[in-house]
């Protein structure tokens, strides 16, 4: 008798839970404002406690990083030294060209990423789940960080703000599946879109304007900056690291590696883009 009562009580409860969950999923997919409000309230409520826990366990995180990442540090150090010397040489050669471009840009009133103001924020957390590539910033709407703002670090593009509560903002990184960035290649200036892949740090270069264009390994890609774009033009994004021609010369699989080390960010800048003198671009959700 007791068993029958237990079984008959379980079924309505689990049915109610399933129906409620499906309803919530549907509402959230539809962009329901009440659900966003609940999310933001939860994040703001827990933010002070998160800060205390992070400060308290900071030494533990450092030890953990030291143990799990020590193997890669020496190799990374050597790689970085080589890159620095290459870039110093390139910078010297391009100083003359850079000055001419700056003069021309000023004459033509072309907006440049250097002219864009923004909000500097600290990265205080990574993704809470295993199937998303996001960061949490210590600033939100009350400090001027709003949804749609491009995020950059010293080396290049990091991602875009996709959610913001009063005190916290969530940045979706450029290697998150589902966030495409409109780019152009360095040499041929061919337009394409980067696409992240689950469990892989490399991005695929897709929707290349002309598939026959020769793209070489080592070539950089920059934000395309077309009209109404979600990102300022000419922000460095990634470097071509692999070209797979198994499907033929006309349909190569091109993989790029983000220039910014997205796992080691401490400070980033949220850009006020587009600049306030022009009307805001719509957020397409996939960049452009």
């Amino acid at each position: 008798m007791a068993v029958y009562r237990r079984e008959s009580r379980r079924r309505p409860i689990i049915a109610l839970i399933v129906i409620t969950s499906l309803a919530l999923i549907s509402l959230d997919r539809g962009g329901n404002g009440a659900i966003a409000t609940v999310r933001h309230a939860a994040r703001d409520a827990i933010a002070p406690v998160q800060g205390v826990v992070q400060d308290a366990f900071h030494p533990v995180s450092n030890v953990f990083d030291g143990v799990t990442k020590v193997d890669g540090l020496e190799a990374e150090n050597a790689k970085l030294r080589s890159r620095v010397s290459t870039l110093e040489g390139k910078l010297s050669r391009e100083r003359g060209v850079g000055e001419e471009y700056s003069q021309l840009a000023r004459l033509l009133d072309i907006p440049d990423v250097e002219d864009v103001t923004g909000v500097v924020a600290r990265v205080i957390g990574g993704p809470a789940g295993n199937f998303e590539r996001t960061l949490t910033l210590n600033k939100g709407t009350s400090q001027g960080v709003v949804v749609g703002m491009p995020i950059v670090a010293g080396d290049g593009l990091v991602g875009k703000v996709t959610d913001a509560s009063r005190t916290r903002a969530t940045v979706t990184l450029i290697d998150n599946p589902g966030l495409g960035v409109g780019v152009r290649t360095e040499q041929s200036r061919e337009q394409a879109v980067t696409q992240g892949r689950s469990g892989d740090k490399l991005l695929r270069l897709s929707f290349i304007g002309n598939p026959r264009t020769k793209i070489a390994e080592g070539e950089l890609v920059f934000t395309a900056g077309v009209e109404g774009a979600a990102y300022p033009p000419d922000v460095p994004v990634a470097r071509v690291v692999k070209i797979d021609r198994q499907r033929g010369e006309l349909d190569p699989d091109i993989f790029v590696e983000p220039l910014v080390d997205l796992d080691k960010l401490v400070f980033v800048k949220a850009l006020r883009w587009p600049p306030r003198t022009s009307s805001p671009a719509g957020d397409t959700g996939t960049g452009s």
């Binding site: 007791a2 409860i13 969950s21 789940g129 689950s198």
Partner: protein
Amino acid sequence: MRWIRCFLLIVSLVVLQTALFTSLRVFDTGPDLLLVATIAVAYERGAEAGAVFGFVGGLAIDCFLSSPLGVSALTFALVGYGVGVFQSGLIRSSRWMAPVLGGIGGLVGGMVWVLIAALAGQEDLFVAGTLRTLVIAAGYDALVAFLIFPFARWACGDHDLAHR
């Protein structure tokens, strides 16, 4: 009193998941603390308690994920229900039950989450990298189960045999 302890357990695990374990990642993967807690509660208290705890805990962590609200809630509720239904046939006294349940439950729960998230519109989850992530996460879940199962037992309070 039991509900207060369960609430405290959920809040504590959400804080740890979002503040501490975002840094303690192995091969870019972290554990699912609330999934492990759901398995522990279902093991201690049965299917109904597991489903309800999983729903509430999943909803709590969904507030901090970019996936649609309700995906983790549904996943954890189903896993909690499943573990609760089968727990009566399990050996009660083995000290290895926690990591075994945590690991297997974590793997199954991860797969269910991927399936539900894909149906809810999350893109590009059915790739080889996802399977690797699920296996690593399951191993991590087995490890943290040693710590979470005792806290879940405390939150559940005294066993009430009439509920089994």
